[in-house]
Assembly symmetry: C4
Homo-oligomer: 261 residues x 4
């Protein structure tokens, strides 16, 4: 009969492969408003045929399994993918089924990912997120923030509208913040979204900007299809809102083409 | 005079015996809605005369002692039982007085149990839980989800209605999810229950299905007695509801025999 | 330039002295309803001229310092006292400025105390607590629960009203529960109190019962003085309530002498 | 393929330099009511041209990055500064972008700072904080509390109004409390402030008192400018309040010169 206590393994990291990467970058997209980042990350994984290299589990993920349509169940996990993308550039993509439920969990998972990719030679970390405006936009802008003045300049040159204050909360902020603390550079690209629908148009916008910033060709035609479906939903909502606005007119609404209430 | 700091032992595991098990399975039943899983687990422990092999304590259990009718008090704990059941099959049963109060606690306790039984040769983990419908059913269905397509097929063959989406929260989900992460297979059987009463009929239903799935004879006559008592309570509630429904008729109610509002 | 991470020292234990104790017991009294346990513990420390042997600090204590009347400030801490009391019996008393703010903190502190006194030969742990009734009683009863049938018998013989169900939450429950898990015996004595005032009469009642149970002479005259002051306050409240009850009579009240509503 | 668990590094301490300090003191100022402590700490860093010697990060800081006006983003961190100030006295200043979000985080960060400066020879720790009165004062008083009677005497001699009860919560309390537990002395100086505005006058008042207590010349003229700006805001608020009070006269107000509502 023995008695023992165990140290809490906050983040468990199962390494399948440590890629021998050439000039790699890390792009992160996580579940959040409009699924902007998650859609973009999933698109990169499929488009570049990335392979899973690390699986992260954490007791700070929501304590549950999700059941899929075929009856199979799986607990939330983080996944780091990798492949050598075109033009000899290595591409890491980090995504997850959920974000951790505590600050400590967010810090630990972010730091585990940053430490791993740093070891593989990553110098720059990008997070793809949503910039919620509450209005629908036909051509969503991309906002940004970065951990260094050099990256702020690069983003600005590529047409990103730099944030001037405020904060980026959760892992989208922490991943670049902890990257900076570990000597890397980080930038967050935030696609303008209403926050009301799964927004593939915003995902497409951030990916197109990312493509310019990291000099990688990214075919976003599949996202375009999804975005067009979203646009139909938005148009219907807009029509309904317009109809409502005819009955109850709201002054000044007409001056804002491309947006609805 | 000395000063020292201590690492938090999140789960403390007191091993009484490490069974030399033959082809064993793990069945878990925990306190929850309708006590479906807990009743079933307690029934297995009594029926197969299982012996306690591991006791788990955790600072994430509710911070209290429960006082029994004889005035004795005990803090919440988890218990793993074992015996070689009929047909040469080893049977582990895990149950607890309470579920941990934090996500981290649920993860750690689930993982400690999975790691121990894996060491003893367990390949399949079953959790018994409740599927709350809000209605009373005379012949409760059994719903299910599993971590592999093979187990989904096995459950389906045995008459389990597979879940098609949604999630299984708490340790019922985590135990099979973490089992899968550690290379085992897991399935959750959820007995249909109203959620309003301690439901031995639902426990009986999941145990009868479990008996088929793991090929173990389980005499559920004692649960049948409890279920009949429950049924009396339900009949009384039904009579009261019918009486109420005579005064305030609700259309369509008659078409749903076996259910009340 | 170096970087390092540190393990969280959940409970820090500063040992001033490890007493060479003879047949010792541990009595615990903590801040809580009516200060019943805390008053009792402080009385024991003063009465038996106990000396401080261990000081506990914990990051789960409320994050603050308390400022005393002379302007000095001190963070919350736990204190274990000891002396050889009369009749050759060693007496440990544990008290604290506050109870930890998390379950984990309560578990860890309780366990640290139990482990230390076990090392010093303690076999029995008593916690002194409040049994809240919402009514004032002139001769407060003492309720109890214990971790073994033997101690239940001893308490019953000494006039304790054993609890028949329910729970004892916080460190009063955990200290005896974890004592039992570590092979000691534990009992909780709960003095009947209204919960509305600092209740020295309840403290006196539990100490008088403790004196019988552990066979230690405890002079409670100082608590009697405090209790009489409390009684004056209660009498005034009672007078006010009686006056109110004359104007708004409540049937059945007269049948419960010794209590006010 | 490997699997590993990691211990949570609660506070990460990046040491840039371990100063060889002569007779040093530690002064701490953190974000809080009226920014009294933070303004004072920032003033000391600028005034004495202190250099950053340790950077602290913690998963208990708010999980976010803050974006500055130039688009750069940074996660919250704690910073310890040092320089040999005038009269051969070493001066450590600790400040942070935010206070940790949990009790445990506050304890750990406070303790990490105290341990580091103790190693460097610090014997006395001062925290600068706000004493909220809800009223505006033209000549803010400085309140105080200390961990030793000797420091209480020193503060009293220098004109500090000692607190007589109550508590000092958060790191302002813990830093001196944990300093005392580690054998140092600590005092908290609290500048009287309304709590409604960023209050440079209160910062100036605590710094002038600190200058006397630690015998360091501190030029507070820049804080005076800021305080005068604040005073203008207060005067406007006062004028508005006076105007309101003319319409709705409140008896007794005139007797309290120097305060408004």
């Amino acid at each position: 009969m023995t008695s023992r206590g165990e140290v809490l393994p906050v983040v468990s990291e199962k390494v399948i492969e440590t890629p021998d990467a050439s000039n790699p970058v890390l792009v992160c997209g996580l579940p959040g408003s409009g699924y902007v980042g998650k859609l973009a990350a999933d698109h990169l994984v499929t488009h570049f045929k990335l392979r899973r290299v690390v699986v992260y589990t954490s007791p700070t993920f929501p304590p549950q399994v999700s059941v899929k349509e075929d009856g199979t169940a799986q607990p939330p996990r983080g996944e780091l993918y990798y492949a050598s993308a075109k033009r000899g550039r290595g591409l890491f993509v980090f995504t997850a089924d959920a974000q951790p439920t505590t600050s400590e969990g967010e810090y630990e998972l972010s730091d585990a990912v940053v430490k791993f990719v740093k070891k593989c030679g990553v110098k720059k970390v990008y997070t793809l997120a949503a910039y919620i405006t509450g209005s629908f936009s036909k051509s969503p802008r991309v906002f940004g923030a970065a951990t260094s003045k050099g990256m702020v300049a690069t983003l600005t040159e590529n047409g990103v509208t730099m944030m001037k204050d405020g904060g980026i909360s959760g892992m989208n902020g922490l991943l670049i913040g902890l990257a900076a603390l570990r000597g890397l550079e980080g930038a967050c690209l935030l696609g303008e979204t209403s926050g009301y629908v799964v927004d593939a148009a915003a995902s497409k916008a951030v990916l197109e900007l990312l493509a310019k910033v990291v000099d990688l060709p990214i075919d976003t035609s599949k996202l375009k299809e999804k975005a067009e479906e979203t646009q139909k939903v938005i148009s219907q909502l807009q029509a309904m809102a317009d109809q409502a606005s005819e009955t109850t007119p709201q002054p000044g609404r007409e001056q804002r083409p491309g947006y609805i209430g």
